[in-house]
Structure formats: C-alpha cells, structure tokens
Amino acid sequence: MKSALDSALFPEGVNRCPAWKFFLWTVPWLLLLAWGGISAALCLLKGLNQTNMTDYFAFALWIVFDLAVIALGAGAFFTGFLTYIIGKKELKDIINAAVIIGFICYSGAIAMLGIDIGQPIRGWFIFWHVNVHSMLAEVSFCITVYLSVLAIEYIPIILENKQLSKIKELRLAGGNLHGMMAVFAATGTFLSFFHQGSLGGLFGVMYARPFAFREGFYVWPWTFFLFVLSAIAAGPAFTILCTKLAQAITRKRLVPEAAFQTLAKISGWLLASYIVLKILDTIAWVYGVAHPAGFAFTDFYREGPYGLWMVAFEIVIFGIVPALILTNSRARRHEGWLIAGCLMSCAGIVLNRFIFTIVTLAVPVMPFDRFVSYLPTWQEWGISMAVIGYGFLLFSLSYRYLPVFPKERELNATAE
C-alpha cells in the first residue's frame, strides 16, 4: 500500500486511510464547527437575544445539551475508576477512548457554558465571589478541575505519538504521567461524583419548583444520587457506542469483545439499580412533594407536548428495557441487542436531563400563570451541533495519529 502523506505520524504498525480521504471525512465536522463559530460570534457580540430563550425559559437547549454530554462523558471517570482502582484489566483496551470521549464532552460543555452566561467575561466571578451554598458553584468548580484532570489523562496519549515519543524528555514525561494515572483516576472519580451529583442537585434544591424539588439526605436532594447513578450507567454505554461506531467506520476491530462485555454488564446492572431507585423516587416525589404543594401527578404532564408519554419513555422504554437487555448475558453478546441497549440507555439519560431542564420551566407554578413553549433558534442549534463536530474531529485526529487502541495491531494482524 502506498504510504499516506502524513504516514510518519501514524502509530506503529497500523493502517490509516489516505490524507485526502481523511480530509473529506473532516469536511462535515468542519462545517458544523463553522456554523457554531458564526453562532457563537453572534451571541457574544449581540447578546443572548440571538436565542429563543425567554424569562420563562431561562435554561434551554444549551443546558440540556450540557447536562447530556456531561452525563454521557461519565464513561471517562467511571472506566478510569474500574481500570485503575478496581483493577479490571480488560478495560485497559478501551480506557484511552473513554478518556478522549470524556475530554471532548467536558471541554465542549464548558465552551457552551461560556456562551450561555449573559456576561461571559465575568465567568471567573463564580470562583472569586463564590456562594458555597450554590449547587452551580460546586458544579463549576468540579468540572473545571476535572477538565484539567482529563487533560492530564489525555496528555500521555498525545505524547505516545510516534514522532513526539522520539523526544526522550517527552517520552519520559508521558511514561511518568502514565505511572501516576491511578492518582488522577482517583481524583477524577472524586470530582466527578460530586459534580454529576450537583448537576442533579441543581434542580433538586429548587424547593419553590415542585416539579424539580426532591427531599434528600443532609444537603443533598435525591436527584444528587440519581444523577450520579444514571451517569455512571449511561456513560459506559456511550463509550461502547462511540467505539463501536469507530469500528464500523474504520471497518476494523479496535477493542477486544471482552472489554465491551465487561462495560456493558456493569452499565446494565447500574441502570437496573438506577431504574428501581428512580421509580421509588417518583412515587416519593408524588406523595411527598407534589401533593403537599397542591399538584396531582398528572398536573405536570397536561399541557403542550410534554405529556405522560415522557414518563413512559424515560422509565420503561429507555430504562427498564435497556436494563433487561444489558443485564442478560445472551442478549448482551448479540451485537444488535448490545447496540440497541446502549442506545436506549443513552436516550433515557438525555430525556431525563431534558425533562429536568425544560419541563421544570415549562410547568407554571402560579395557578394563574400560563404554559409557554420554546423552540431553539439556528444559533442555539449551531453551538450545540459544533460540540458534535468538535467531538468527531478530535476523536478522528486522535485515532489517526495516536495509539488510542493498544490492541488495534494485534486484532487486525490477520487482515493485513
């Protein structure tokens, strides 16, 4: 095979497509980024009037997207925890991919938040004038620090690039960082536990919004624990999906099946326990919060498109069904069922975050207030889609130039 223009940068002993083909592959993602760039410039220069947010929908598409990508990015810390702390050796074959996906999700979310606040140049006030009672302050602290941890976990992978590792100092630095990875994995786990939880706490503490409010343990509402649990259930499912997608696109086997199976099994059991607790939480919320505030359960699902179908989808179709698939070893081994289970699990978590963000704000609390609806503008979609474009681009670049999948060579040896 004729060597590609940039073949000197490829990992040792693997095949990559020609440079022109790779460039063509990146074009759609670059276009998404350009769309996002224009949207971001408009929002930063002209203000948030470029969106369709209102005084009713103070949080909207961007917050749903932020919560969703942060939850789906939980695969990074949780796989790190399983690999380095619990010692699941087979996950070493997928941990790099999990870290890169996590890095993409978190950096994308922080970039979106930077545009979402009305005064982006005052973003640092969260740290300077911090209100320690605010869940949002806690989230900001943890995701910022955790992004640094993810960067530290990503750097050794970058330093393993064929050309970079020729430089002795960089090679040693990468090796040393790699040796300390358990420390960072533990730090990441600690930080992630708190911010995933605080994202749930964000809604659970709003006691004057009966749709979102939850009782809890000490300062943490039940949503705190449910968000952690749902994130560590759906995060690994998302890591599996991304890696399976990479395998389909590159037409190669990149990760041994054992790693997928371990992750899927853990994800399935976590999802199953989450769904049990979620059902209990819903019952407790109806009787403990909604009724005392004067709301019947169905009052929240009466108007607009936000009907009871959401509860059915969130708990049954995207909850119980994928939990049954992923906990069943026969179903899990079947490629189609595995992917369907992971897709449903991820869809469930996105729907959950959507409900907490959008429906909380759409349901009027004052009885004489009215239901309002919201549809995002192209600028809001642009910024959200840019995160997807950025994700594809960074993952593709990492795959092309870095040894992301340690078993790639071995798994594809016969094919070559």
Partner: protein, 260 residues
C-alpha cells in the same frame, strides 16, 4: 448564610385586591422610578422587563357571573431560604436580614439565570438586550440618578425601591434620628397607587399598619404552600381570589396558614 438579627426590620407590603382596579399605575411608576429599559417593540412580553407585573385572574364563570381580579406582583422578597439567593453561584443577590430586602448586584451578576429558574413568581427578568432609552423624546431627563441602569446579560428585579430607603435613612440621620417614621420610606408603586391599595411598612413593627393588616382574616400570600414566606401579602374578601393564589388538588380545602 448570614444570621438573622433579633431586632431586624422586615419591610413588606400588603396589597388590597378589593381596592385594586388594575389600572397599572404601579407598573408605570416602578418603571419610571427604577430606570427600566424599553424596547422599540415591546410586544414580546416574555422578554420585556417589568419589576411589578399585573396578572389578570377571572373566576372562570360565564357572563353574568364573571368576576375579575388583578394581582400586582412585585418581588416577594421571600424570607425563608430565599430561593434565588441560595442558588446564585456568584453571590450576586443577597437578602439583607436587617431590612428583609432581597437585592441584586448588577455588576456582579454573570447572567447564568439560575435565580430565574428557582423563582416560582417570575419576579426576575433578564436583560436580553443592552439598555435602551429612546433619544430625543425627553426620556433621559426622567432617568433617576439614584438607580444604576443595567447592562445586557444580567438579571434584574424589584428592590422595594431600596434607594428610597437609603435616602430616607440619610435624611433621618441628618436630623439626628436613628429610626424611620412609618411612611417615611415607601416604594414608588405604593406611593403612586391611586386607589391606595398598597400599604408598605415594617412587618415586625406593631405600630405599622402592615403589621395589623397581615393578620387580617382576608390576608393570604402567593404560593404560600411552598414555604417561601413571601413578604408581600394580599387582601381579598372573595374566596375564589384567595383560592387562585395557590395550587389545590380537586376537593382540597383552601388552607388558612398564616405567618407570624
């Protein structure tokens, strides 16, 4: 969270809905007093800035039994675990336990809008645009030098005309007094109401009218069940009006919870 002082004041409002005609003078007076910005097109009410908003409520019965009531809604200055204050990540909004007033620091607000999500009364509005005061129409001459205008991207809300409290205090200190007399400090809405429907004063002071009015049998508060302890009370002799101030499940009786 700061401790509540034992002898603190607690400024609050009692709005008599039996007297309110829904004329909107309170809204206009508030906007003029507090330099509220306008838009060339104000038709999008979900994005226009109003600190005092008037809600029209009807009893839902057909003519000739239709009855209408207007709820003027300023900020409630919630006393218990103030929903907006506790969530603000940058301490840009605070409750002063010496006066009970919930303030907003515009130059510190980062515009995350978490406070707006936490407030069930929609008492907070966001500056979606830069402040706008049409030129050449004399509006600039009406701007109050005591109230800072707000920039784009921050949240604003009713302050119970806090600058008037500052002015009244300065006056009192100049006269060698430490205490304010009743009615020496009242917000613009209360002053402007032609029907005299809004009474303002210290809810902790037994000599003030509001102290007695808040215990009136007609008194109730908005969304009292949530436990936010608003410092704005309403009076109405009509049961359906009192019922429309809170959520009730079918068959649930109207509560008679009263704050101390």
């Amino acid at each position: 969270m700061k401790e509540k002082p034992a002898n603190g004041q607690s400024f609050g409002m009692v709005i008599d809905l039996d007297k309110c005609t829904g004329c909107g003078t309170c809204m206009v007076a508030c906007s003029a007093e507090n330099n509220l910005s306008v838009r060339p097109d104000e038709s999008d009410k979900q994005r226009s800035i109003t600190w005092m908003r008037l809600y029209k409520v009807t009893n839902g019965k057909p003519f000739p039994d239709t009855e209408v009531c207007y709820f003027p809604r300023p900020c409630m200055h919630c006393d218990h675990h103030t929903p907006c204050v506790t969530v603000c990540p940058a301490t840009a909004t605070e409750i002063d336990y010496h006066t009970g007033i919930v303030s907003q620091i515009y130059t510190r607000c980062i515009g995350c809008r978490y406070c707006m999500a936490a407030c069930p009364y929609h008492a907070r509005t966001f500056n979606w645009w830069d402040g706008y005061f049409p030129k050449g129409k004399g509006i600039e001459r009406y701007l109050s030098p005591e109230v800072s205008p707000r920039m784009r991207g921050v949240v604003e809300k009713c302050t119970f005309c806090h600058h008037r409290l500052m002015r009244a205090k300065t006056l009192a200190y100049n006269e060698g007094r430490r205490e304010l007399k009743e009615n020496e400090y009242i917000p613009a809405c209360a002053e402007a109401c032609p029907a005299g429907a809004i009474t303002f004063g210290d809810l902790n002071n037994p000599d003030h009218k509001v102290y007695k009015l808040k215990s009136d049998p007609r008194a109730f508060r908005l969304l009292e069940k949530l436990g936010t302890e608003p410092k704005v009370y309403y009076l109405s002799s009509k049961a359906w009006v009192r019922r429309s101030a809170d959520n009730y499940r079918p068959g649930e009786p109207v509560h008679t919870v009263k704050a101390g």
